[in-house]
């Protein structure tokens, strides 16, 4: 407290006066602002007012459309542990200390708001905020790092706004309750997140402070959706190759340098203008997007998490907004001020001025001038430069223990099976600037949809630009569906494993013979097809890694010939006008025999060949065949004439001039043409098949279930249950068989030695005689009981006959009932005796049999074998 006092004294100094003035001014302004706003509003035009109202109402809708009431009434407190409902003496002591601290604080700093020290919990019991924090390390490895923790908290809980946006809440529920009901205000959020972060080893603190409107209402409409941000292309640094000694000099540049300079100047001017225009445009847009000034700016209470550097290799301090799970630098303008912060050990009050948001704050919690601590003796105070001045207070050491003691009484936080579903009810919607993100839990949607991002053209979110839908666990391996609303282009992305090896399928309609591009996982296909592009009149295929070096095939179709019969695409293929095929270089062949491109002009009966270029040449051989089957003037069929093959050869060769060679080449090409046409036709069929398959898959949209997913996999569940049942039965049976009839007899003999024959025989005999004795004993026992019962009955009967006259009706009834019961017992005993007599020899024989088969009495077996 001395520090506080000192501070007050210091404030009197001239240096502090200025700050005080500023604080005064700020306070004044705070009071003035609502009035001003009101004044402003009065002066506003009717139009803009309506606009503002509309805007505000919109915000209301997006934020609290379906917020259920989260009040004390809905919470079932009966199941909470006792520590929630009462305070231990130590906690009471702690509260007293806190009260005392609060009193002194309000006395010394009367202009500051009261401290948020001990709100009520769900059981209406005041609890010190530090004890509400329950450091917990979650059993899920995903929740070990701060980013995933923050994402989890923001996904898992539904946000409820503070009852009064200008004050901290009166209640602060325990994280157990918050987790159970999956909703809470910013304080609940940050308490839970802070508990998890401290549990995983971060130096994290809950912060009570002031945030911007967007922050407090979890309004992301001015944020750019992180999913829409395109990853920056990493520009490859072109390695400047050092010119070698004998690199040829470039040809002399004969252009005028002056003209070039002029040109460059002109270009620059144009570019500058363009840039300016763009900037203006941008500014205009920015202006339009800017938030309307908030009337309560700087007064809205918010709570978030501060992570200090040091532990877990955190390089520098940062804030986490628990609503969104995003991290912000401590300089961020959304965070407007800090009143106090606490962790599970201590509570600090910010003594620094927040006139410039949080930008000037220094998070050295050991500095008592900047951060006034409530409890002495935590690790941070050792950093303090003025350590000597607070050594007089002793009782606070106990208090510090109190915090740790009282918090350890609370149960560990647990996240139930709801962990997988993440969001409450498995669904969450986040509104970003020009984008809307919807999330679902896996398996919630029957078609496997897990998230959908809708991008809009305008800020009002009316014109949809594009929709991206992510899927999971689809049997058809569909991963992402991208619909571009402006061009109407749909693109499906697949993971490896589709039966047709699809990678990407982009189309406008599912009708065949329309614009479409299908990409494949070429390694999964036998024909090495990479991509197939279709337009109404053409089809282009790209190949890779084929043994025949085919790399490209392009087919163009003519209009379909009308047939009288009912025709479909399958039965009446379009006539092929032209097929172009390109090949990679086949290193096994010389270049002038290796065809690079061949064009079958089907309609013109013309075949064009272009060969690969030889390494030291710039021209390539060409050959053109005209396939005319004509008859000459005498009516004889012309087989081959020189003008049917026009060829250009880089290095003229003799054998290619021969008609025979040309004829054979042409025959070969004719066969190839037939094959190619067939290939094209098959490709068309395949497209039809793929389209059919896709439609079926879309209609069925079955989901796969991993065999490791014990909860969902029905088959494995059944199997497992059956296995368990079997195991149980097996266990029972084993227990039964484990009754060792030989054990007592074996115990008499020295252990570990093999039995001799004599011993075995004796053992067997002993065992059998013992068993026999047991059977006889049992029979005797039954007999004895029987006799006893009979005797008693007889006695009773005697007694009855003697006293028959004096008996009351009640006694008589009693007697009669006794008789009937006794008779029943006697009968049962009789039956048991008879049964025992019947079974005893059988049991005896069975035991004998068993003994013969017992491995320990193997000696016996030998003799009988």
């Amino acid at each position: 407290m001395e520090v506080l006092r000192e501070k007050v004294e210091e404030e009197e100094e001239a240096e502090r006066e200025e700050a005080a003035e500023r604080a005064e001014w700020a306070r004044m302004e705070k009071m003035m602002r609502p009035v001003e706003v009101r004044k402003e509003e009065n002066t506003l035009k009717q139009e803009t007012l309506r606009d503002l109202e509309k805007k505000l109402s919109e915000i209301q809708i997006t934020v609290s459309a379906e917020l259920p009431a989260f009040t004390k009434d809905t919470i079932d407190i009966s199941k909470l542990p006792v520590s929630y409902k009462t305070n231990t003496p130590k906690e009471e002591h702690l509260l007293q200390v806190a009260d005392n601290f609060s009193c002194q604080y309000s006395h010394l700093c009367p202009d500051r708001v009261p401290l948020f020290l001990h709100p009520l919990n769900e059981c209406e019991v005041p609890k010190f905020v530090s004890t509400t924090l329950r450091p917990t390390l979650m059993p899920y490895p995903e929740l070990y790092n701060w980013d995933s923790c923050a994402q989890f908290v923001s996904d898992f809980l539904t946000m409820v706004p503070l009852p009064d946006p200008l004050k901290p809440p009166s209640h602060l529920y325990s994280s157990t309750t918050v987790l159970k009901y999956q909703k809470g205000n910013c304080f609940d959020f940050s308490t839970l997140l802070c508990s998890m972060l401290i549990g995983s080893g971060y130096d994290a603190y809950c912060v009570n402070g002031y945030g911007s409107l967007d922050l407090c209402h979890m309004d992301l409409t001015r944020e750019v959706c992180p999913l829409t941000v395109k990853p920056k292309e990493t520009i490859k640094k072109e390695e400047k190759v050092l010119p070698k000694k004998y690199t040829i000099k470039p040809p002399r540049d004969l252009c005028s340098r002056f003209e070039q300079e002029q040109e460059v100047k002109k270009q620059q001017e144009i570019r500058a203008q363009e840039k300016k225009r763009l900037r203006e445009e941008e500014e205009r847009l920015m202006e339009a997007e800017k938030a309307k000034p908030d009337a309560l700016h700087g007064l809205r209470v918010h709570s978030w998490v501060l992570v200090l550097s040091g532990k877990r290799e955190v390089p520098e301090n940062f804030f986490i907004d628990p609503f969104t799970g995003h991290s912000y630098s401590t300089q961020d303008e959304h965070f407007l001020g800090i009143e106090s912060l606490w962790n599970h050990k201590n509570y600090w009050i910010n003594m620094q001025d927040c006139w410039n948001c949080c930008k000037d704050l220094i998070f050295d919690l050991g500095d008592p001038v900047r951060w006034e601590y409530m409890l002495l003796g935590t690790d941070k105070s050792q950093l303090s430069l003025t350590e000597e001045d607070d050594s007089g207070i002793n009782d606070e050491d106990d208090v510090e223990n109190l915090v740790s003691l009282s918090s350890s009484r609370r149960p560990q936080l647990t996240v139930s099976t709801a962990f997988e579903t993440r969001c409450p009810n498995g669904k969450k919607v986040i509104q970003y600037k020009r984008a809307k993100l919807e999330k679902w839990a896996p398996y919630l949607n029957s078609n496997g949809l897990v998230s959908r991002l809708t991008t809009y053209e305008d800020l009002q979110c009316t014109n949809i630009l594009e929709i991206k839908e992510w899927y999971q666990n689809r049997e058809d391996m569909l991963e992402l569906k991208h619909i571009n609303k402006t061009t109407d282009l749909k693109t499906d992305y697949f993971k490896p494993g589709h039966p047709q090896a699809l990678r990407v399928h982009s189309y406008k309609s599912m009708q065949p013979e329309m614009d479409r591009v299908i990409e494949f996982y070429e390694t999964a296909r036998v024909d090495g097809l990479m991509k197939r592009e279709e337009t109404p009149r053409t089809m282009t295929e790209y190949y890779q890694g084929r043994p025949d070096f085919l790399s490209y095939r392009h087919a163009s179709f003519g209009p379909r010939v009308k047939k009288l019969t009912l025709s479909s695409a399958e039965s009446n293929p379009r006539p092929i006008v032209k097929i172009t095929e390109r090949f990679f270089r086949n290193p096994a062949k010389p270049a002038e025999e290796d065809v690079a491109e061949r064009v079958f002009l089907v309609a013109e009966e013309r075949i064009q060949l272009r060969y690969h270029c030889r390494e030291d040449h710039i021209t390539a051989s060409k050959r053109e065949f005209l396939r005319r089957t004509e008859v000459d003037s005498k009516g004889n069929k012309i087989i081959m004439t020189p003008d049917m093959c026009i060829s250009f050869e880089v290095e003229p060769m003799e054998h290619t001039k021969k008609l025979l060679y040309q004829y054979e080449a042409m025959m070969h090409l004719k066969r190839e043409e037939k094959l190619s046409r067939h290939q094209v036709w098959e490709s068309e069929l395949e497209v039809l098949e793929i389209l059919k398959l896709r439609e079926e898959e879309e209609a069925a949209h079955t989901l796969t279930i991993s065999i490791y997913d014990t909860k969902r996999n029905e088959k494995s569940k059944e199997y497992r249950e059956a296995m368990e049942r079997m195991m149980h039965e097996e266990h029972l049976r084993q227990v039964e068989t484990q009754l060792d009839y030989l054990a007592p007899f074996l115990a008499q003999l020295p252990p570990g030695e093999k039995l001799t024959r004599w011993q075995a025989v004796r053992l067997k005999d002993e065992c059998l005689s013992d068993f026999k004795q047991r059977l006889i004993n049992k029979a005797n026992l039954i007999q004895a009981r029987f006799e006893k019962e009979t005797q008693e009955l007889q006695k009773k009967q005697q007694w009855y006959q003697e006293n028959q006259v004096t008996l009351t009706p009640e006694d008589e009834d009693l007697y009669l009932s006794y008789c009937s019961q006794a008779m029943f017992r006697i009968r049962i005993l009789e039956q048991r005796l008879n049964r025992h007599k019947e079974l005893a020899p059988l049991k005896y024989l069975a035991l004998e049999e068993k003994l013969y088969k017992d491995p320990r009495l193997g000696e016996l077996q030998k003799i009988f074998a």
Partner: protein
């Protein structure tokens, strides 16, 4: 051999016979008509079948340069000959003939399948050139020595062998022996060798095979050693400093120097010679190392140069290709436009445009080529200057080192003369002379004789050193001139080839256009 051919007249392989065979076995039907129309050149024939023709002597086959498969079975050939030109032959069938020795197959390096079934061969040899041999059929012959099998070990590709019905196949160990000594063999006598047999055979003949292998390995190692040594020497030779890394030059100096050898018996000369030799060898090694270093330098220089030239040519080619591709695209579309055009005047106009395009392409390509020629010339000149400088520097340094050698020699000569004269004086005085060899004593007759002898030795030494130096200088100079000549010549050849290529292409384009013109006008 009781074959019906015995009673028939042997026939000669003449042109008619070959023509007939080629005609019969050539293409059939439509292609056959064409072939008949054109005639078939012997060198285009890939496969020829000449069986059951009573041929006695293989002849007239020199024209069949590209023959892949030749069947000469069931004739009465007695000697393998006349196959020297058939270097591409893959398949040769000489079964059912009367051949006695294997010969004349040394040029058939591509042969994979050889059949000599049913002949009179008694020894397998002269097959060394047939490195690709896979199938060898020697059944029904007179091979009687198992050692012939070991000869077959050198054919690494041999998979199929038939030796049935030979005297050796009667031996009980026959199969095991072959399996053991030819482990890569898959088929023997038309049957697959199973793994079990292989293992058995291996076990049975393990010792002898191991020994054989050891011997083969030794031989191989020796060959490799030889090869390495030869390569090393070759490397030194390219550096022009061979045999300078030791006392070779020094030894050669004394090899033909009888006086010098005699004089070395003089008292005191032995030590002198020893120190002289040491110093001399050190200088030689210096020259050697310097030479290797310089060679390395020259090599990197040459590599950089050729790399740069290659890059430049490649770049130029790319540009040319791009230009041609662009032109062709345009040209094709204008050609089809001309075909579709019906107005004669328009056609003419378009044709004119086309030919203008062609000449423009020609100009562009030629400009590119001329540019490249200029650039390359500059680079080549620079390289020439550098390499000549390098060689000059090398020669200069080597000469200075050689001069050191000469100084050493002179020094040695003086010392030797001194010793000789003092010895002569001693002999004259009669102090010593008993322990000198007789032929040496003969030199010490008078002063002139001894001085002459020492002088002759000195002259021989100097001559050797001069010769070595001259050899080095001439060789490196001739290498240098040859290299530069070759670079210039290559460049000229390249230029001519490219110009020819461009001209040819342009001519083709022009003639195509002209043809079109004619066709159109005719239409």
């Amino acid at each position: 051999m009781n074959r019906p051919c015995n009673s028939m007249e042997p026939r000669v392989m003449d042109d008619d016979m070959l023509k007939l065979a080629v005609g019969d076995q050539g293409p059939q039907e439509e292609a056959g008509q064409l072939a008949k129309q054109e005639g078939i050149l012997f060198k285009d024939v890939l496969s020829l079948q000449l069986d059951f023709r009573n041929i006695l002597r293989i002849d007239n086959l020199w024209q069949f340069e590209n023959l892949r498969k030749l069947q000469l079975d069931n004739n009465i050939i007695e000697k393998i000959e006349g196959l020297e030109n058939l270097a591409h032959l893959v398949w040769l069938d000489l079964s059912f003939n009367n051949i006695e020795t294997i010969e004349g197959l040394d040029t058939l390096v591509n042969l994979e399948d050889l059949s000599l079934f049913n002949n009179r061969i008694s020894k397998i040899d002269s097959l060394d050139a047939l490195v690709k041999l896979q199938v060898l059929s020697l059944g029904n012959n007179r091979i009687d020595n198992m050692m012939n099998i070991i000869y077959l070990r050198r054919f690494k590709c041999l998979r199929t062998l038939s030796l049935s019905r030979n005297p050796i196949s009667e031996a009980e160990d026959y199969k095991m022996f072959i399996c053991a000594y030819l482990p890569d063999l898959v088929y023997l006598d038309y049957r697959r060798i199973d793994d079990h047999t292989k293992k058995l055979a291996e076990a049975k003949h393990q010792y002898s095979i191991d020994e054989l292998k050891h011997r083969e390995n030794l031989m191989q190692a020796q060959l490799e050693d030889e090869q390495a040594r030869r390569e090393e020497l070759e490397k030194h030779k390219t550096a022009f400093v061979e045999h300078l890394n030791g006392s070779f030059l020094f030894d050669s100096m004394y090899a033909e120097d009888s006086e010098g050898n005699k004089l070395s018996y003089l008292p005191g000369v032995g030590e002198l010679l020893e120190t002289y030799k040491d110093k001399f060898v050190i200088i030689c090694v210096n020259i050697f190392e310097y030479g290797l270093k310089q060679q390395e330098k020259r090599k990197t220089e040459l590599d950089t140069f050729s790399e740069c030239v290659h890059e430049a040519i490649q770049e130029n080619q790319e540009q040319g290709k791009r230009k041609i591709a662009k032109f062709e695209e345009k040209h094709l579309s204008s050609l089809s436009a001309i075909r579709e055009e019906s107005e004669l005047r328009n056609i003419e106009k378009m044709i004119l445009e086309c030919s203008a395009d062609i000449s423009e392409l020609f100009d562009a390509l030629m400009t590119l080529e001329m540019q490249l020629v200029e650039q390359l010339e500059e680079t080549i000149n620079m390289f020439e200057r550098n390499i000549v400088d390098m060689v000059g520097l090398f020669i200069e340094n080597v000469q200075s080192l050689m001069a050191q050698c000469r100084d050493l020699e002179n020094h040695h000569h003086e010392k030797l003369l001194e010793i000789s004269i003092s010895t002569l004086e001693k002999i004259v005085e009669g102090d010593l002379g008993e322990d000198l060899p007789n032929d040496l004593r003969a030199l010490f007759v008078d002063k002139d004789t001894i001085v002459n002898a020492v002088g002759a030795s000195h002259d021989i030494h100097l001559l050797k050193i001069d010769n070595r130096e001259d050899e080095l200088v001439t060789r490196i100079n001739s290498w240098c001139t040859r290299l530069i000549d070759k670079i210039h010549k290559d460049e000229i050849m390249r230029n001519r080839k490219r110009v020819k290529e461009i001209n040819q292409y342009i001519d083709h384009m022009q003639s195509e256009l002209d043809n079109l013109e004619c066709g159109d006008i005719l239409d």
